[in-house]
Subunit: 187 residues, 2 copies
DNA sequence: AATATTTCTAAGCACTTGCTTAGTTTTAGA
DNA sequence: TCTAAAACTAAGCAAGTGCTTAGAAATATT
């Protein structure tokens, strides 16, 4: 009864994610998205509703991309060493996927840290909270640590992870490796 | 022979710095600056040449604001403990000055990390390089450490400082304190 | 008091932003 | 083969961007 779409929504979404990842939300215009996605603005709005809608879908897309890393992290059983591996995996992903800068989610968290946007803000707080909870569980598996130490170390590692994601945008491999190694010497 | 300025350049500059600090460069418009500084666009351009000129002056203004902290750091003589104090001072300044988010320079470093702007980029690389050199000297004052360890620990602390500045925009006091304490536990 | 010189106001420049819409093209079902 | 419904193109909207400018207002000197 009608014409069918000439593009694959998943395909163009990944291209959008890639652009948002590289430039952030504010510094990515709909015109740039048009070019990168290879479709007209009309099609963008038809498929994703708004620039923000497209961005939220891009975040979901990114989450599913790093999901296998999270699964591996969740299911591993070596306590704190798992967290260290998780750190190394975190900085490896952007390089593998195509030399992007930092973690898309952490970049977003920083960009919207003091902004008004409630929807995106909530997404981010949720995400960071989830990671913290995982850290707590991993650290707790070392029974010798009391609860206060567990929470202290979880706080420490959460900031270290956040900082690493921020710093990894501008620092080289050696600096990052030194950082991770010394970070875990303190536990 | 003529009318005199109805505003103090230093005063309006500090207001501009405050706005840039809170919002970053791209998300601060000249119209917003007009309101915050309380003067017309014409006056902004007469005094500072361009938005970028005003931003560079704002960076200088910030540097001089935190300069006494740097001086204290340089002139202290307790090696690594000075760096730790420096970390604490760093997160304290934004709170004292008016509850701002993170370090203005580090925020800027992040915002321009992958941008085209050469002038601002150079300023930032210079700034971070200076801090790293200070760290190296402080760590070297412990004669028991070989040069390789010194450099490793300097890298580590530079990333930690950078990460702390990024993370301190969104984390609370307790998390930050836990982070600093554990960061220096094993050095 | 008159004047020369600077400051200031406010309108406007061309360009970019997110988003919409009128109108054309395509295509599956009758 | 005709037609109705969806997909597409491209132009355009109002609002916001950094920056400029014509003209009014103010004031230190003569």
């Amino acid at each position: 009864m009608a014409r069918s779409k000439q593009y694959n929504e998943q395909e163009v979404l990944e291209k959008a994610m890639s652009l948002f990842w590289r430039n952030g939300y504010e510094n990515t215009s709909v015109r740039m998205l048009e070019k990168e996605m290879g479709i007209n603005q009309f099609s963008i709005y038809a498929s994703f509703g708004s620039k923000q809608g497209l961005f939220l879908e891009s975040l979901k897309c990114y989450k599913s991309k790093v999901n296998c890393m999270f699964e591996k992290f969740k299911n591993s059983t070596n306590g704190i060493n798992d967290i260290k591996d998780f750190f190394y995996d975190s900085v490896q992903v952007p390089i593998e996927v195509g030399n992007y800068k930092g973690c898309f989610l952490t970049n977003t968290y920083n960009e919207f840290a003091e902004a008004e946007d409630q929807i995106i803000n909530t997404q981010m707080v949720e995400f960071m909270g989830g990671i913290k909870q995982l850290f707590i569980e991993k650290i707790r598996s070392d029974k010798s640590k009391d609860e206060q130490t567990v929470l202290k170390q979880a706080n420490y590692l959460l900031l270290a992870k956040h900082g690493l994601a921020a710093a990894s945008r501008v620092n080289d491999k050696q600096e990052i490796e030194d950082y991770i190694e010394l970070t875990f010497k303190n536990l």
